[in-house]
């Protein structure tokens, strides 16, 4: 009796592990299919998509600061930090890659700080982050026309990027929502 029980158990285990292995194989196959599809995509387009993801997070962050929304700014920054890490530099020249790596390292640190700070501190880091993102766009380019805007009052004069030519000030928020002007238009 005891022996019978043991062998049934062994059989069950075997079947289980077999189906498991099959399942895994299926999953692996799905993966390779996915990778194939990925490969087919235009590599240039993928790169733009990653830079655009960074820009899109940056603009959500900017709007959060315009709205004095510390919590949203923090959440978006955590997302931005992840987007920054995901950028693919392989299509650029060696010099550009070096510069991009430097920009990303700096920007990531600012994003991480914004993710865990009160609003005044978020704005300090947003200023430095804006410089990084502007320098990044100079290398990666942009899908949409962007506007570099400038507020002469915040911290001896501070820049930021916007998707629209309307000025909405991320450094003062509701205190001085329209302080600033467009100083440069970055064509797509």
């Amino acid at each position: 009796m005891q022996k019978l029980k043991m062998s049934i158990a062994a059989m069950l285990l075997l079947t289980l592990s077999f189906t498991n292995a099959q399942e895994k194989e299926k999953m692996n196959m799905d993966h390779s299919k996915m990778n194939m599809d990925g490969m087919k995509m235009n590599i240039d387009k993928m790169q733009d998509a990653m830079a655009e993801a960074i820009l899109s997070d940056y603009f959500v962050l900017k709007e959060a600061l315009v709205a004095d929304d510390t919590k949203k700014a923090a959440q978006t920054s955590a997302k931005l930090a992840a987007s920054l890490k995901a950028i693919d530099k392989s299509n650029y020249t060696a010099d550009e890659q070096k510069e991009l790596a430097d920009i990303i390292a700096d920007a990531t640190e600012h994003a991480e700080h914004i993710a865990k700070s009160p609003i005044e501190h978020q704005r300090e880091h947003f200023k430095m982050l804006s410089k990084d993102i502007t320098d990044m766009v100079a290398i990666t380019g942009t899908k949409n026309t962007l506007y570099q805007q400038f507020c002469p009052m915040y911290d001896g004069g501070s820049n930021w990027l916007s998707e629209s030519s309307d000025v909405k000030n991320p450094y003062y928020g509701s205190k001085m929502p329209t302080c600033g002007k467009v100083i440069e238009t970055i064509e797509k």
Partner: protein, 150 residues
């Protein structure tokens, strides 16, 4: 009453026990070539001030107080030092790119300006680490100059 005795005994055992947990000490005999003081022309007074007020947590060498040997103080300090060095390590200053140096300098200015650094939990015991208003201004001016020169 009996239960109080048991609690006291358990606590005592725990406190004695944690004294034996090994810890890493942040100490080094050498100052690397990348040190902030070696690559920048820092005036003597500011050099002294930075060493006393910042280097304990922002370099590879901490001047430990005696009570550091007592747990859980050791853990508390260890955490601060680890975090401090991750943010900024003056010993490794010159390994940073110009962009990152500027960011760090800007953050130093803001931290000193707002009085967030040195930490109040640190100056509570290290009263010599406190910045007077003049000292803070002197440091901010120097760091601003350095930042503009990069």
């Amino acid at each position: 009453m009996k239960i109080l005795k048991i609690i006291a005994l358990v606590l005592l055992v725990a406190i004695v026990g944690i004294q034996f947990v090994p810890t890493t000490r942040n100490q080094s005999d050498t100052v690397p070539e990348t040190d902030f003081m070696l690559v920048n022309n820092v005036p003597k007074t500011i050099q002294k001030k930075l060493e006393v007020s910042c280097y304990d947590c922002h370099s590879n060498n901490t001047q430990y107080p005696w009570y550091n040997k007592v747990q859980p103080v050791t853990w508390f300090l260890e955490g601060h030092i680890k975090e401090g060095k991750a943010e900024l390590n003056f010993n490794e200053w010159d390994s940073l790119s110009a962009r990152r140096k500027k960011s760090k300098l800007q953050s130093i200015i803001k931290q000193v300006e707002s009085g967030e650094m040195p930490l109040s939990s640190y100056t509570l015991i290290h009263s010599d680490a406190k910045f007077s208003k003049e000292e803070a201004n002197e440091i901010i001016n120097f760091i601003t100059q350095l930042k503009d020169s990069l």
